[in-house]
């Protein structure tokens, strides 16, 4: 918390010596240590350090495949890094320990301070200290004898001026020879501080709510196809820990058309400049269908569940005929772009080809060119000369033992290769509408057409609104606490033997305050000006 230092001397002794106390005393000591400013600061800095490894090593939640690859590539260090949860930094025991301790420390700090501030709000400014001259800002005024200004009058004037300047004032020592006024302002500084820190807890709770009751899923939709919001429809689905299937809003959508515009300016040729997905959507089966446009940065919402355009690519339409002449596979097959030119990898599996299953692995190039070595490469992201370059395999594709496998991967180790660059029959090169007959009468493959697809993320996060509200509160609290100064002013007046009225004032800042001196000058000027004016008027009134 960014305010006053604790009263000096009090904690330093406790910091050094371990008091010889029973278990209860030890606990109290540990609690006081945890909620001390120094511990909070150390935990905060530790949190910053602990967050760094997550940017240095691949992280499982973001990229599980890359982590697996990393461990394979580094057999020595990989498993050790994994043991220390360096691939799951933000859910690791140590990272969680730090932020949970930090938040416990925060709660242990906020609650007593909130109570204290509540009391301060309802109490009056503290009494005027005996020696104002010890305060950081101090000044005196002497009003010439013969004016009508009595000490009591002076204090009343001072109180009025301070009240106008936003101070809460309390008259003291009234009826004595030395009446005084105590004033304080800037209560909002501590309030803002408390709001900021409480809001931080709110943010954490909102994140937890989202993680418990929300879900996130991915779905790839090819042009002309649709999706309804039911679990089996997802390509991958990540429910929260307390997810209730009833939270699935029964919307459906169909991708009518997906438009991509590429930059044709020579300096930035081929960069995408527009992705637009034309969708027909229904909020529920009983609602009327309506047209929507889905773009990057512009999700479509269905009552709290949002659909985001995350990726896109090409889905060549393929027909595979088997050795018996039957169609074993027909339809669009999504390819995965590997670069900005949309050169993509593609895996085609025909597990129902007979007598033997057929598999194909290779590349899809939207605009194929051939370099001087005879190697095909893609030169443009738009499909000016679409081409499939495939190797073919036959054998057990590994789908019949019941273990789920990615549709984008084919383990070829147990398969017999039919086509490939190094084989007598060569690789398969298929232009649009072309058919290739596989060797040994195993069947054929035809490149029938081309569609685009969109990769969607579908997300329901019930903690989102709370997170927004609490971060906004945190920001407001922060602005208030860092721009408000909390100050105390005391003014005392008395009468000199010769009839002059003496006034002394002192100012004290609570917390960081670099314009206390300026404030002192302002108050001094206001008082001087006021009394000068009053005396002038008096003099004119009584010549």
């Amino acid at each position: 918390m960014t305010t006053t230092k604790p009263p000096s001397g009090k904690t330093s002794l406790e910091d050094v010596a371990l008091p010889r106390l029973g278990p209860a005393g030890m606990l109290r000591w540990a609690w006081r240590q945890l909620t001390s400013m120094k511990t909070a600061l150390q935990l905060l800095l530790l949190l910053a350090v602990a967050a760094v490894p997550g940017s240095l090593f691949p992280q499982r939640p973001a990229n599980p495949a890359v982590v697996t690859q990393y461990i394979q590539d580094n057999p020595g260090t990989g498993p050790w890094l994994d043991r220390f949860q360096l691939f799951d930094v933000y859910s690791s025991v140590w990272f969680s320990a730090i932020y949970l301790l930090l938040f416990i420390s925060l709660i242990g700090c906020v609650i007593p301070r909130a109570v204290q501030h509540w009391k301060a709000l309802r109490s009056q400014p503290p009494r005027t200290p005996r020696r104002l001259s010890r305060l950081p800002e101090y000044g005196t005024m002497t009003v010439a004898a013969g004016t009508a200004l009595t000490p009591d009058r002076a204090i009343e004037d001072a109180a009025r001026i301070l009240r106008q300047r936003g101070y809460r004032v309390q008259l003291g020592d009234t009826g004595t020879d030395l009446p005084s006024v105590a004033a304080e302002r800037g209560y909002l500084k501590e309030a803002g501080n408390l709001v900021f820190h409480t809001a931080m807890i709110g943010v954490l709770v909102s994140i937890a709510v989202g993680g418990m009751f929300g879900y996130r899923g991915q779905k790839l939709i090819i042009e002309g196809e649709g999706f309804t919001n039911a679990e089996p429809g997802y390509d991958s689905f990540f429910p929260g820990t307390s997810f209730n299937p009833g939270a699935l809003v029964p919307f459906s959508l169909t991708l009518n058309n997906f438009d991509v515009t590429f930059d044709r300016n020579p300096a930035s040729y081929g960069n995408p400049i527009d992705f637009t997905a034309d969708m027909t959507v229904q909020d529920s089966p009983s609602d009327a269908p309506r047209q929507e446009t889905l773009r990057v940065n512009e999700p479509i919402g269905f009552g709290g569940t949002n659909v985001y355009l995350i990726g896109n690519g090409y889905a060549p339409e393929i027909t595979v005929r088997d050795g018996e002449g039957n169609i074993a596979l027909q339809g669009p097959v999504a390819s995965l772009p590997t670069d900005a030119t949309y050169n993509s990898t593609i895996v085609i599996k025909a597990p129902d080809a007979r007598p033997d299953q057929l598999g194909f692995v290779g590349f899809f190039l939207p605009t194929a060119m051939v370099d001087e070595n005879g190697v095909a490469f893609g030169s443009d992201p738009d499909p000016y000369n679409p081409q499939l370059n495939l190797n073919s395999y036959t054998g057990d594709l590994g789908l019949d033992d019941g273990n789920p496998v990615s549709v984008y991967q084919l383990d070829t180790t147990e398969l017999t290769q039919l086509n490939g660059r190094d084989l007598p029959d060569g690789g398969i090169v298929l232009g649009a509408y072309q058919t290739y007959e596989l060797p040994d009468g195993k069947g054929s493959i035809t490149f029938e057409g081309l569609k685009r697809y969109v990769a969607l993320d579908i997300v329901y996060d019930p903690g989102k609104a709370g997170a927004l509200v609490f971060t906004t509160l945190a920001l407001l609290g922060l602005i208030i606490t860092l721009t408000t100064a909390r100050r105390r002013v005391w003014i005392r007046a008395g009468q000199h033997e010769d009839g002059r009225t003496m006034i002394e004032y002192g100012l004290l800042a609570r917390g960081e305050d670099h314009s206390l001196a300026k404030e002192a000058i302002r108050i001094g000027s206001a008082l001087t000006a006021h009394w000068n004016k009053a005396n002038d008027q008096n003099r004119q009134a009584t010549p």
Binding site: A40, N271, V296, P299, A520
Partner: protein, 339 residues
Amino acid sequence: MTPVNETLGQYSELFMLLAALTYTVSFIAFAADLVRARKVTTAPAEPAQEPELAAAGTMGTVQWTHGSGAGKANDHKDAVVDDSMGYKALRRPAARIGVAVGILGLVVHAAGVVTRGMAAHRVPWGNMYEFTTTGAMLVMAVFLTALLFRDLRFLGTFITGLVLVMLMAGAIAFPTPVAQLIPALQSYWLIIHVSVAVLSAAIFTLTFALSVLQLAKTRQEKRGKPRTAGLLRLVPSPVSLEQLAYRLNAIGFILWTFTLMAGAIWAEAAWGRYWGWDTKEVWTFVIWVVYAGYLHARATRGWDGTRAAWLSIIGYLCVIFNFAVVNVYFPGLHSYSGL
């Protein structure tokens, strides 16, 4: 979509070059000011204007005296600057030239940034080249604005030097032709999120310089050298540097918090989650925590002064790392540096 205007883009590059040349002159002038100040002797007469003298005195029937309780012990007779950064009457023609030429440079620089934006029909912060050139402009603008409130001309050499380095880095390391934005960046949050991020980075630049000088000055004083010696002669006391750095860091922290929030809102609109520990998010978070630590340190005994200054410096190094290294070398969702 409107195609880019390449002629304007070429004008923009010309303006940037002219701005760099102008800043070079300003840099030399500020450097001359520092060098010259080593030897200048202050007239023992007229001390600088003190607030109490300005305000107090006998006016009409009220006699008023005011004194700041804090010790004024540091007022060496040879010092040119007091603890509240008030300078003694001192002729600094070189510094005046530095400021004047710097303002001219900023005007030309701004013309370069604006024409770049007009050429692309969008805000001129969509790739590394644009972040760097626009960022450099804001560093200069923040510095010149700060001069209205405080005499920070002793920072002129550092600031103009840094701005020169940034302009050169933009032109040499990140040259990018004027182009339209990729769909991921086509959002009004680009205008809000990035501009505030660059502005707070510019403020942190200033506090970085103040904190470095604070450490240097502290060290000089510890060694027992008179505070009037050497190139640091024009630099005010560590206490005043620390106080100013704190106030600027507080503003920078508020803006950085907003950057983080706006970034989260944008991330929610673009990717469906407001926080995902992407590399850039990690470092933005680290920076936020370090400056939060700085603000707490200022209120913790044993951590203010030198240690807090170190936190301010570390925070800025993280800002630089986040900008120069993470954007370019780290894979992540924010990889649209245009390289």
